[in-house]
Amino acid sequence: MRNGGENRGRLLVVILIVSSLFLITLDLRGVSVISGLRSGTHTALAPFQRAGNVLVSPVKNFVNDVTHLGRTHSQIEDLRKQNQKLREQLISRKNQDGQIEQLKSILDLAGKASFKVVNAKVISQGSSLAFTRTITIDAGTSNGIKNNMTVISGYGLVGVVKEVFANSALVMLATDPSFKVGVRIAGSQQIGILAGLGSINANLQLLDNQTTIKVGDILLARGSINGRPFVPGVPVGRVTSVSNAAGAVTQSASVRYFSNFGALGVVSVVVQAPSADPRDSLVPAKPVPTPVPTVTVFVTPTPSPSPTTK
């Protein structure tokens, strides 16, 4: 009996082996039922595989990160470098945009007055610890720049060329304490001397004791012979306060420069003054006040309750 069971078992194993060989033969002969079975299994498994993929994705990513640790790290490094490069490009672009704006306003100003200018980039700002206010520009004798030429920004006077080299020049800013420029008041044409104080403000000393000055007056450069060191008509600043000290021979005033000396990116050096004085044509336009809408609220009193009698 036991022998019979063993024989049946062996027969079953032989049948299984023969079946396997039969399947191999059928598949190798290209019977279409076999390929249909595989594609059917594939179709049946597809939803499970999709669900599995959703479940496995976080683990898969983790395993992938661990097994490709070096590569992931280098990828992160590459992306960091790329990010840094893009940031630098963005900053540079913003900087260039700012410089283009500055240049545009300078050219507007120079064009209005028919100044012949050489544009230059500010490559260095002098340290305030040196007690002088200077900047270095990237244009020099090779660009036709000479000593004592007027330097302007889009808003007005910046300073004067103090020293010039082959490809750069040192500019004394109007804020320098030793800076002095002859100015006239737009409109009234009263003249005075403006002296730098080391800050955005300067001190104006009028030359004529018969004249008066008021807050809001605009100062323009008077100009020098042959336009050096100052070309005429360049906007300098606006009077912010007037001092009427008792016993003073002439009036003095505090003036705020038009140029923003902390944000100088591009400046222009006036290499040739106009043949005619531009007079007051460069006076900056007054800011137009923006109307603020007012809201009128009508309040209607509610009628007070009248006493009722029963």
Binding site: S20, L45, Q49
Partner: protein
């Protein structure tokens, strides 16, 4: 009784096969990864009689042959698993020292898996399956053996429990 055993065994194998295809195969584990389905089949064979092992190997082989990730002809895995499952069971059945000792079972399964893969590659070569590089073959063989060494001890209690469930036995492993 036979139908109950067949149904439970089929359900277990089918579920593990789906788990293998849907989850484990997608993990892209290093060095070829592991196959819980193959480990299950070999463990099942080690716990069964030779005839049951051969039948289980046949069913598992059919499923593996139908797997979308298999590139050999249908019947290739079936033939290998019928022969190897029968061989494993033939060597271990009746030897309680072998079947009762988890360490022996684990080592036997790891070795069996190693030989299954070698047999699969060799017969695949004879059947015209495009051969893979020597280094890759060696990496896969060693890698899957290491994986099997790690996974088999974890799977063994669960497989023994499922085997008990299917065959109404109390294994002492």
């Amino acid at each position: 009784m036979l139908i109950r055993r067949f149904s439970i065994t089929s359900a277990i194998f089918l579920l593990i096969f789906i788990g293998q295809e849907a989850v484990v195969n997608q993990l892209n584990l290093p060095a070829g990864g592991f196959s819980i389905f193959l480990i299950l089949t070999l463990l099942w064979a080690a716990l069964s009689t030779p005839v049951v092992a051969a039948a289980a190997g046949f069913g598992a082989g059919i499923l593996l042959d139908l797997s979308p990730s298999t590139d050999g002809p249908l019947g290739h895995w079936t033939l290998i698993l019928v022969l190897l499952s029968y061989a494993i069971s033939f060597f271990s059945y009746g030897d309680e020292n072998m079947r009762g000792n988890p360490l022996s079972l684990i080592l036997m399964v790891v070795l069996a898996q190693f030989f299954v893969l070698i047999f699969y590659i060799t017969t695949g070569f004879l059947l015209g399956v495009s051969p893979i590089g020597f280094v890759q073959t060696l990496t896969t063989l060693l890698g899957s053996s290491i994986w099997a060494l790690v996974i088999t001890p974890l799977l063994l209690p669960a497989v023994a429990w499922l085997y008990d469930l299917a065959f109404d036995r109390r294994l002492h492993i």
